[in-house]
């Protein structure tokens, strides 16, 4: 399947940013007809390598050759024209335009300067048929799911007669079925001889699709391996560069069977809470020291449940009470007052304030809880921030750095610290580990366990069942915006059973046209 001559080689690539050595003497090669996974923790240099390859950054040293010829792209457009196309993690298309236009804009078929709409739609349909997609190409892109948008982005990328396709974390917002669909397309393109560079944080996916793996660590090359010859365990070791004691210890831990809750009043009692169009009425009780996992597919209403409990959306049915509150919770301010913290899944848009420093981001919630008229003394701020920078091992450990300079995993930790400082009684974590590397993920999981041992209640939302099962005492399962089950996490519960619960019953058939 793999050709004998690489279509792309990068040799001795080095790149230094002021104060940071992002890449040091990295070699990388890509053969036609292979899927090659580029692995590494956040900050290992994966993104930098891709940006060097596509000409977003220049190099300090090293050469890139495409088909034996040395190239030096000045930008993604030039790279694409030469056959190196990139699909980014965030879908970079225009949702207000039609599917066909998104595929062809910038190179529309024209006659005498006029865009030929009919021809464009026909070619779009042909191209999508190649990917086994049957879409209404004149519909606005925004009316489709993110997964479909991702496929359209790939269609756009391969239409420019790509020989190298770079997929930068394409799966981070897809659910299992959509990932399968994406993989099918990737295999098909691979069989057509396209070389695919695949970046992901999901190890299972790497073993599901990659032919070869290159591992980076701290901007340096660790090695290139055939997927079959590198067990998952050693891959993680190579990425982290240390023993896997953290992960192992968590794995060895006993099932987190229910803590003794008998007779204990719930900390938060949501009774028949619902909101039309968002989530059907559900009841959920969360006790002190309990971790409740929320499982379900993307878009099944997990986040909506969290937002209702926190009061970020107004429930039009039922009410949420906490033991301390005289009246039901209605607004986030009220919820924060009652000791509820909410780490949003959308850390860029709803959580982190990128321009503010780590310290300022951390004290935001506490300051809000105290009221803005009572500023927190600077010395107290420094103490608190120092404590959590150490406790969560936030790197770089400089509290005065703007948060936007931190990697995704570290931003997530800052967000966590923001709520931990307020010492909440219930912490809602919505996808706290999405898009962050293995090491940071393990640290966050460990923290959740510690917090609940210390008596904090946690509502833990994640698309990864494994993670939910590892941490939760109970698992609430969402399907089609409805809470369909609450399972106690005892010996009988495993990923398979949760999966079946998600899938079973009679999910409403979506009407297809």
């Amino acid at each position: 399947m793999t050709g004998d001559r690489p279509v792309l080689t990068m040799t001795g690539i080095s790149k230094t940013f002021p104060g940071v050595r992002a890449l040091h003497d990295v070699d990388f090669r890509l053969f036609p007809g292979e899927v090659h996974a580029l692995m590494g923790e956040n900050g290992a240099g994966k993104s930098t390598l891709i940006k060097v390859l596509t000409g977003v950054y220049g190099t300090d040293a090293g050469t890139v050759t495409l088909d034996g010829e040395q190239v030096s792209f000045t930008g993604p457009m030039q790279a694409a024209a030469a056959g190196v196309s990139t699909v980014y993690q965030e879908v970079n298309l225009c949702t207000n335009l039609s599917v066909a236009e998104n595929i062809f804009i910038g190179r529309e078929p024209r006659r005498l300067g006029a865009v030929r709409w009919g021809e464009m739609r026909r070619r779009a349909r042909d191209l999508l048929a190649r990917l086994d997609l049957d879409l209404d190409v004149s519909a606005q892109l925004g009316t489709f799911s993110l997964a479909v948008q991702q496929m359209v982005a790939i269609a756009r990328a391969i239409d420019v007669r790509a020989r190298v396709l770079i997929l930068d974390e394409p799966t981070s917002s897809l659910d299992a079925g959509e990932v399968a669909q994406l993989f099918r397309i990737m295999r098909q393109l691979r069989d057509e001889g396209i070389a695919i560079l695949f970046v992901t944080h999901f190890l299972d996916q790497v073993y599901g699709i990659a032919d070869r793996i290159t591992v980076l660590r701290n901007g340096a090359l660790v090695g290139e391996y055939r997927t079959g010859e590198l067990p998952q365990f050693s891959l993680v070791e190579k990425m982290i560069g240390q023993e896997l004691d953290v992960l192992e210890r968590l794995d060895e831990q006993q099932k987190r069977a229910t803590v003794a809750l008998d007779g204990q009043a719930p900390l938060v009692d949501a009774e028949e809470v619902g909101r039309r169009g968002a989530v059907a009425p559900f009841s959920l009780r969360i006790h002190a020291g309990e971790v409740v996992g929320l499982a379900g597919l993307l878009g099944s209403g997990r986040t909506e449940v969290a937002r209702l409990i926190f009061g970020a959306d107004r429930a039009d049915h039922g009410q949420v009470r906490t033991d301390g509150a005289r009246s039901p919770l209605r607004t986030p301010i009220h919820a924060i007052d009652q000791g509820i913290g909410f780490c949003s899944e959308n850390r860029r848009a709803e959580g982190i304030v990128p321009e503010l420093s780590v310290r300022e981001n951390m004290i935001l919630a506490m300051q809000a809880a105290r009221g803005w008229l009572r500023p927190i003394p600077r010395r107290r701020q420094d103490e608190l921030v120092q404590k959590y920078v150490e406790a969560l091992s936030i790197r770089p450990a400089n509290p005065e750095l703007p948060v936007r300079n931190l990697s995704g995993g570290n931003q997530q930790k800052v967000l966590l610290a923001r709520w931990l400082i307020t010492e909440p009684r219930l912490l809602i974590l919505d996808e706290p580990t999405r898009g962050i590397d293995v090491g940071a993920k393990a640290e966050i999981q460990k923290l959740v366990v510690q917090l609940s041992d210390g008596g904090m209640a946690v509502l833990f939302i994640s698309a990864e069942l494994e993670e939910v099962l590892r941490l939760s005492h109970r698992v609430a399962v969402m399907r089609d915006r409805e809470m369909v089950a609450q399972l106690t996490n005892d010996d009988t519960l495993d990923a398979d059973r949760v999966m079946r619960t998600i899938a079973s019953g009679t999910p409403r058939e979506e009407v297809t046209r």
Partner: protein, 330 residues
């Protein structure tokens, strides 16, 4: 996973394309208002009433077309009213100085686009809010009007008076002015450019998501600067048409016109955040404003400020409508 399961993921299937709803709402509103007029006043059904709406608002229409380009990219141009006035002032002053009409036309048509080009560059390269850049442009152009003359200058040039008095009519005696034909020509060209040229599609792309447009390799800088230049050109044409209409240049004419123009564009269904809207909608928006004026004139007992009150109400209703569609879409 079959392809059908993926199409099923599609979140919301509109029976009516979402982007057409605002335009259709405006069309319905226009028909209702016209119907009210016809049922209340016998003379309203006269074709000339409709023609007069075009005659009185031809220059507004041209300027609104330019504004549509800007708003489609998610920008705003507050300078248009002042540029209209400045163009009329410059024309009047140059004609008074005895320059030939053709030369005056060329000069007058160059000033607006030049200012627009400069504002576009400032907005793009210095990443300044369009609001503040065009606000500066607005003060500058208005100041230039008074600098040229602090009182009104009348135009006696033959070409201008000819254009002003020329009537193109049908045998029944109904007529339109040259300005209306020019305005129609501008509308048709603009509609073609937006629908069928790369530049036009780039305008929509930039308005939809400028960051994505950049990553898709579209010329964002050129597009952004071009829309302000086009808006400047349309303002210049509008200024000339206004000077045909009034046969003068006055320093305080078209004050606040930019707001009428923005109202017309938004009522015409173009979304202020960019990426969605049509020139045809803008035509409807201008007609709505014109018909409101006509209705209030026909009534006779109502103060002309009622026009503003109704426009205010409509504008609010339409922004609400856009928002509701947006929420439903989300």
């Amino acid at each position: 996973m079959s392809s059908t399961s993926l199409s099923a993921v599609r979140s919301w299937r509109p029976s009516l394309p979402r982007r057409h709803v605002p335009v259709l709402a405006t069309l319905a509103l226009l028909l209702v208002m016209y119907g009210i007029g016809v049922s209340q006043y016998r003379a309203f059904s006269n074709v000339q009433v409709v023609f007069n709406v075009f005659i009185d608002n031809g220059f507004l229409l041209v300027v609104a077309v330019g504004m549509t380009f800007v708003i489609l990219t998610g920008g705003i141009d507050l300078s248009v009213g002042s540029v209209v006035a400045m163009t009329a002032m410059v024309s009047a002053a140059l004609l008074r100085a005895g320059l030939p009409a053709a030369l005056v036309l060329v000069v007058a048509l160059l000033i607006g686009p030049t200012l627009g080009f400069l504002m576009g560059c400032a907005i793009h390269f210095f990443e300044i809010q369009p609001f503040i850049v065009t606000l500066a442009g607005m003060f500058f152009a208005r100041g230039m009007c008074t600098f040229i003359s602090d009182s009104s200058i009348s135009i006696t040039d033959g070409f201008w008076t000819g254009m002003s008095q020329e009537r193109i009519g049908d045998p029944a005696g109904n007529f339109v002015s040259i300005s209306v034909l020019i305005a129609f020509a501008v509308v048709l060209v603009a509609a073609y450019v937006l629908a069928y040229t790369r530049f036009g599609r780039n305008v929509y792309a930039v308005g939809g998501n400028a960051q994505s447009a950049l990553l898709m390799g579209l010329p964002v800088a050129r597009t952004r600067i071009a829309v302000y230049t086009i808006s400047g050109l349309c303002s210049a044409i509008g200024g000339i048409l206004l000077s045909f209409y009034t046969l003068s240049g006055a320093p305080l004419i078209a004050v606040g016109m930019e707001l009428d123009v923005i109202a017309a564009v938004v009522i015409g269904g173009t979304v202020l955040t960019g990426g969605s809207g049509y020139v045809f909608g803008t035509v409807l928006g201008v007609l709505v404003l014109g018909v409101i004026q006509t209705l209030i004139t026909f009534d006779g007992s109502l103060n002309s400020w009622w026009t503003k009150i109704v426009i205010g109400g409509l504008l609010f209703a339409f922004i609400l409508l856009q928002r509701l569609i947006g929420i439903r879409f989300k």
